[in-house]
């Protein structure tokens, strides 16, 4: 390295330190920026409206007048450059997997940071295509906002569109708020953090399903508490015939509450997530202790069903921020998420069951081995339970209100209906089996 380049490096380092240590420094990379976008296909044109603060566009020099106010009479070219270089060049749009050509910039203009017209597409479109700010408006350049309308040529407005918004270089933390408005369809809102990759704005059912199978698979494998619960379920029943009703009960139960939570039927209160997390830990402690004491195998499916309801709410917390990628296939995506969970469980069972069999055959007698494993599991879950209960205690108990009681009654009603079905279906099956056929009665 030459002395000259060394001096350059040192100077750059010192300048960086000065910026970090000091207050605001010109052309700083902003801490956080929100980019607002609307995407609307209409006929053979796809319109994209974008809004971004000027302070995130420091790579472009905006012409200024006295006191660093933006010179609105000479700013158009700089706004076009910023729109192209920093927005459209980092925005990839696809129509049925075919990348769209570069867009036409219909309008690029400055707005005040207090402007609220990006609340809806129509308001934003009217704002961007309407009269601009008077040329004598005084806006300090870093306090302005760039609003842009891009138009992309498309084949059809009912095609499947996807978007890759790579605006992550505009600030240390970038959130892209994207609203997709398909023709005649309901608006779909996405909140993408950093570079979220390619997002299908109107995913087909198999695309949504594939995404959610993967999510479910990853979720169960990343949740140690769910896996320990599974271990507690299977350790006394390592044969498929005895396992099937229990695992089925767990699957049905967690599917019920997972879907209910996705349809906003779960309590929307701060105490609810820690309550569920505490109950999940408690479920592991209970099953581990029951296994130690010796499981009542006959009733295991009932308790598994009840705990499955609790775990379903737990699964739903992991889904909250990803349901935006389901498009119009919410039920499909939820079922796919469940499939992913089951696949993950099957993988774990496929690994655990042979290992347990080997362990109990060659290393440790089954009863003693079970007790040792369950003591370890119970000990771990006990600590989780206490930690989670500590979090739960920080929230006040909900006050009893008529609305809260009504919500509780709805859940109780669901449970009673399920219990009635569980009682009635086997009864009807037995009756159908015991009734003599016409042929036999005639004989």
């Amino acid at each position: 390295m030459s002395i000259r380049s060394l001096v350059c490096y040192v100077a750059a380092f010192v300048a960086t330190l000065a910026c970090v240590a000091g207050t605001a420094c010109a052309h700083d990379i902003p801490r956080d920026v929100t980019v607002q976008t609307f995407v609307k296909p209409d006929g053979q044109t796809l319109r994209v409206l974008a809004r971004v603060p000027l302070r995130a566009l420091s790579d472009v020099e905006f012409p200024r007048r006295e006191r660093d106010f933006v010179d609105l009479e000479r700013v158009d070219q700089a706004l076009d450059d910023a729109a192209r270089l920093l927005l459209s060049n980092n925005l990839e749009l696809r129509e049925d997997d075919t990348p769209l050509a570069s867009p036409r910039i219909v309008s690029a203009r400055m707005s005040l940071e207090s402007d609220r017209s990006f609340a809806t597409f129509d308001e934003a479109l009217a704002h961007v295509t309407g009269p601009g700010l008077p040329a004598d408006t005084s806006i300090y350049w870093e306090q302005g906002i760039l609003d842009v309308l891009f138009e992309y040529p498309i084949e059809s407005d009912v095609a499947h569109f996807s978007v890759h918004a790579a605006f992550d270089r505009l600030a240390l933390k970038v959130v892209t708020s994207l609203q997709f408005i398909p023709p005649g369809g309901t608006l779909r809102a996405y909140l993408l953090e950093g570079d979220a990759g390619l997002v299908n704005l109107d995913p087909q059912w198999h695309q949504a399903a594939a995404r959610f199978v993967v999510l479910g698979f990853q979720h169960i494998l990343g949740g140690m508490d769910h896996l320990l619960f599974l271990l507690c379920i299977v350790i006394p029943f390592r044969r498929a015939r005895t396992l099937i009703p229990i695992v089925t009960a767990f699957t049905v139960a967690h599917s019920i509450t997972l879907i209910a939570a996705a349809y906003n039927l779960a309590p929307d209160a701060l105490w609810f997530p820690p309550l569920i997390e505490t109950l999940i830990a408690m479920s592991i402690v209970y099953l581990a202790l029951e296994n130690i004491v010796s499981a009542r195998l006959g009733g295991r499916w009932i308790i598994t069903f009840l705990f499955g309801l609790v775990h379903g709410f737990g699964f739903s917390f992991g889904l909250q921020h990803t349901l935006q990628f389901a498009g119009s296939h919410l039920v499909t995506s939820l079922l796919a998420f469940n499939v992913g969970i089951e696949l993950g469980q099957l993988l774990v069972l496929a690994i655990c069951l042979p290992l347990l069999s080997l362990l109990f055959r060659y290393k440790q007698a089954e009863r003693v081995g079970t007790i040792i494993l369950m003591v370890i599991v119970a000990h771990t879950a006990w600590h989780w339970m206490l930690e989670r209960f500590d979090v739960l205690r920080q929230f006040p108990w909900p006050t009893v209100t008529a609305a809260g009681l009504a919500s509780s009654l709805r859940w109780l009603l669901l449970l009673v209906v399920l219990a009635a079905a569980a009682w009635l279906i086997p009864l009807l099956q037995r009756r159908a089996a015991s009734e003599p056929t016409v042929e036999s009665s005639e004989r």
Binding site: I139, Y140, A402, L405, L409, L413
Partner: protein, 411 residues
């Protein structure tokens, strides 16, 4: 066996019917409860907000707060000028802690300190005693001042770059009175409530986006609301109490039993515009809010804790964030509470807060502002010297007139 099954089936059916009826009845009750009764926003103090300041910085008397369009909270405080020597040994180089923070501070919603700046600089006259802060629709920061010679207001960018000074410092000094000594002595200064250039110790500024006009609560020496062009600073109009031409003749001490005075008392402490374009003016010592059109036509007035003497009860206001701005939240730095007022009737609905040093209590609650979620922010003057956040917990039935300290229910 058959009769047993019938019996179980009947029990299930009866339970389902009972639960369905019960649920409908409770839903109806809940709807009725929500529609009836006297309701007001409920708040809880957030004792963990804001986060500790860096560099061993501490606040002085905190006399202004505003929330900008990004929901960032801005305050102005008097820093070292109001800190005793034993509060700032680091600054005095006699110990490790503490030092006065820069006068203008910006916090994010998480309570992190973002930008910080302020103090004397080139091209402008920093107030002797800064007072009130406002962030306008263009993102500019406005600051007033109520020190002895302060008769001007300043406008900066959010980074602290100077943009404009309106009025000249010292304009209210009496002819012949020497500058530089006894600046706090009122006898050296005289009000000038009809001055078209300078002010008289400005308390607060509010900029109307629609007309690009700044409303000046003017002030601790003058007795008026002044309206300026927000870009040029040119005076456009002004008025006194009841829309009268302001008169600087000193008023007798406030007497709750006397007829309301036809002029504002000092200080005129706020002049904020509501969504229906009415100007609400705090006559702090007169314990009253007066409401005007933007042109200065008097509409109505309301009195609050009318027996409050000395510094008065009407310190500062913030409007609730619902579409109609149904409520006004008024800081009352003598009685140490925030008054929740029905905006249309100017009737007090409830109050919260109490005097004291703990979170949720006040010592000289001076200024108040609200964010987009309806959370309130207060700053305290005198030795209060702090910024607090009160979290909006939604509308709730009013159970008590004075709620006292709104401590978090979870603690």
């Amino acid at each position: 066996m058959r009769s047993r099954n019938l019996y179980i089936g009947a029990v299930f059916a009866a339970v389902v019917v009972a639960l369905t009826i019960g649920q409908f009845a409770l839903d109806r009750t809940a709807t009725a409860q929500a529609q009836a009764g006297n309701q007001a926003p409920r708040f809880e103090v957030d004792p963990m907000w804001p986060k500790p300041l860096p560099n061993h910085w501490v606040l002085g008397s905190a006399i202004g707060v505003w929330v900008d369009s990004d929901d960032h909270i801005w305050i102005v405080h008097r820093s070292s000028a109001t800190l005793a020597v034993n509060e700032r040994p680091l600054e005095m180089q006699t110990g490790e802690c503490c030092a006065g923070a820069p006068p203008v501070l910006e916090f994010d919603q998480a309570g992190n300190l973002l930008r910080h700046w302020g103090g004397p600089g080139e091209g402008y006259e920093w107030p002797d005693s800064n007072h009130g802060i406002f962030i306008d629709h263009k993102g500019n920061v406005w600051i007033g001042g109520n020190g002895g010679p302060d008769s001007h207001i300043l406008k900066f960018t959010k980074d602290g770059k100077f943009l404009m000074q309106i009025g000249k410092k010292g304009a209210r000094r009496k002819e012949g009175a020497a500058a530089g000594s006894n600046e706090g002595d009122v006898s050296n200064f005289v009000g000038g409530s009809n001055d078209q250039v300078s002010f008289g110790r400005v308390a607060k500024i509010f900029v109307d986006r629609q007309a690009n006009e700044a409303y000046i609560a003017d002030g601790y020496l003058n007795k008026r609301v002044a309206v300026l062009d927000a870009d040029t600073g040119k005076m456009k109009r002004w008025w006194g109490a009841y829309g009268n031409v302001p008169d600087d003749t000193p008023l007798p001490a406030y007497d709750p039993a006397a007829q309301p005075t036809q002029q504002f008392h000092n200080p005129v402490h706020c002049a904020d515009m509501s969504v229906d374009r009415m100007i609400y003016v705090c006559d702090r010592v007169g314990d009253r809010l007066q409401v005007f059109t933007p042109e200065g036509k008097f509409i109505k007035e309301g009195f609050f804790a009318k027996n409050t003497k000395n510094s008065g009860s009407a310190w500062d206001i913030a409007f609730s964030k619902d579409k109609e701005q149904r409520f006004i939240f008024m800081a009352d730095g003598v009685n140490e509470k925030v008054r929740v007022i029905d905006r249309q009737t100017l009737r007090e609905v409830t109050t919260f807060g109490d005097g004291g040093r703990q979170p949720g209590q006040f010592y000289g609650v001076h200024s108040i502002a609200i964010d987009s979620k309806g959370n309130l922010y207060t700053t305290e003057t005198y030795e209060g010297k702090r910024l607090q956040r009160f979290v909006n917990k939604g509308l709730a039935p009013v159970k008590t007139k004075d709620q006292g300290t709104v401590w978090p229910a979870s603690r």
